[in-house]
């Protein structure tokens, strides 16, 4: 009888521990989800300031994730890349609108102000203990570095530039090339791919370019998908919004 009681108490404890673990896991996942959500929503603020569309952020996340997969990153790093890459331009929040929204003809001084957004973005995340925000800091700081050492803010060269920064650098430039700006039309997909190829070893890490070219078809599907999203949203703009 005593053994039976012990056994049933054991199962009771086991059940309690299992449930506590489940609750803890759920709470942890909720915190992680909220982190990721805030990252996206905060990044959107910087996009509004820059007059960009939200699909720009989704493209950066998807291009970067695709390249990250091709580079053989771990699932954990791919997830960091996915959420942290959208924060790459968060430093633009502190760049004056008059400079940021100037269609053309930036003075050398104004260019220098814009260049500060990488370091300012990194400053926002300085001291964070979150692994995700640490990656965001690295990406903010290094996504304008160039493989040949001519980038900013620190003129890092080659593999001294963290991989996350090298990946987002390519994703960001490719997206800028294929997007319309007040001062330029969008390049076609194939033309933009050729331009990226031409910058292998100069602006971009040749290994990242190789993966990008190998995954060109998937990159094209992402590009096409976001065009579909933008045109669908435009199409529906005149429809009456439905209150849920």
């Amino acid at each position: 009888m005593a053994t039976k009681d012990k056994k049933s108490r054991y199962f009771e404890y086991e059940e309690k521990i299992r449930n506590s673990y489940k609750d803890l896991k759920r709470a942890y996942e909720e915190v992680q989800d909220s982190y990721a959500e805030m990252v996206f929503r905060l990044a959107l603020v910087a996009e509004y300031k820059d007059d960009s569309t939200g699909t720009h952020l989704v493209r950066i996340a998807d291009y970067s994730t695709e390249i990250g997969r091709g580079m053989g990153l771990s699932l954990k790093d791919i997830n960091y890349l996915k959420y942290a890459s959208v924060m790459h331009d968060i430093g633009k929040l502190v760049v004056p609108d008059a400079i940021l929204k100037k269609a053309s003809g930036l003075t050398p001084e104004e260019r220098e102000v814009i260049k500060k957004h990488s370091a300012l973005g990194a400053d926002i995340f300085k001291g964070s203990r979150s692994a995700l925000l640490k990656v965001a800091k690295v990406i903010c700081l290094t996504h304008h570095e160039r493989y040949d050492g001519t980038g900013y803010p620190n003129g890092l060269k080659g593999k001294d530039i963290p991989l996350f920064g090298r990946i987002v650098a390519l994703a960001d430039v490719f997206d800028a090339l294929t997007s319309e700006r007040p001062y330029k039309a969008a390049y076609g997909f194939d033309e933009a791919v050729e331009m990226i190829k031409g910058q292998s070893g100069k602006h971009f890490d040749p290994d990242v370019v190789k993966v990008f070219l190998r995954r060109k078809n998937k990159i094209k599907r992402i590009w096409q998908a976001t065009q579909d999203i933008d045109s669908f949203v435009k199409e529906k703009a005149h429809d009456q919004p439905v209150e849920a």
Partner: protein
């Protein structure tokens, strides 16, 4: 990603789980095609167990929405987690899709359609 479909009084309720991304949408497209071919006109996508959706996944939802519209059908979404919700919000798709907190609430709103 996994998708399970059940029919409830003319509504195809799709319970989708996992990550909807460029590598997993083929299965989703197949399931959506089957729904249209079966002449189902009311579709509810329960996203409670969807971890994330990328641009290819969103384009897949747009395709289903367009296909349903062409046959006077309708699509609702329910149970979006914060990550999925923020992706829909930044792409402005939250303004054009009909989104409900729960499956029950969405089902109640199918009446009248």
């Amino acid at each position: 990603m996994n998708i399970k479909i059940k029919d409830q009084e003319g509504v195809a309720i799709c319970h989708i789980s996992g990550e909807i991304n460029i590598d997993t949408i083929a299965e989703l497209k197949k399931a959506f095609k089957k729904i249209i071919d079966n002449k189902t006109r009311k579709v509810l996508l329960n996203f409670e167990a969807v971890d994330y959706i990328d641009s290819a996944g969103l384009a897949c939802l747009i395709e289903l929405s367009r296909n349903l519209k062409s046959v006077q059908g309708i699509m609702f979404l329910s149970g979006l987690n914060p990550k999925v919700s923020s992706v829909l919000s930044i792409t402005k798709l939250d303004r054009v899709f009909k989104i409900f907190d729960t499956e029950e609430e969405a089902l109640r709103n199918f009446y009248g359609y």
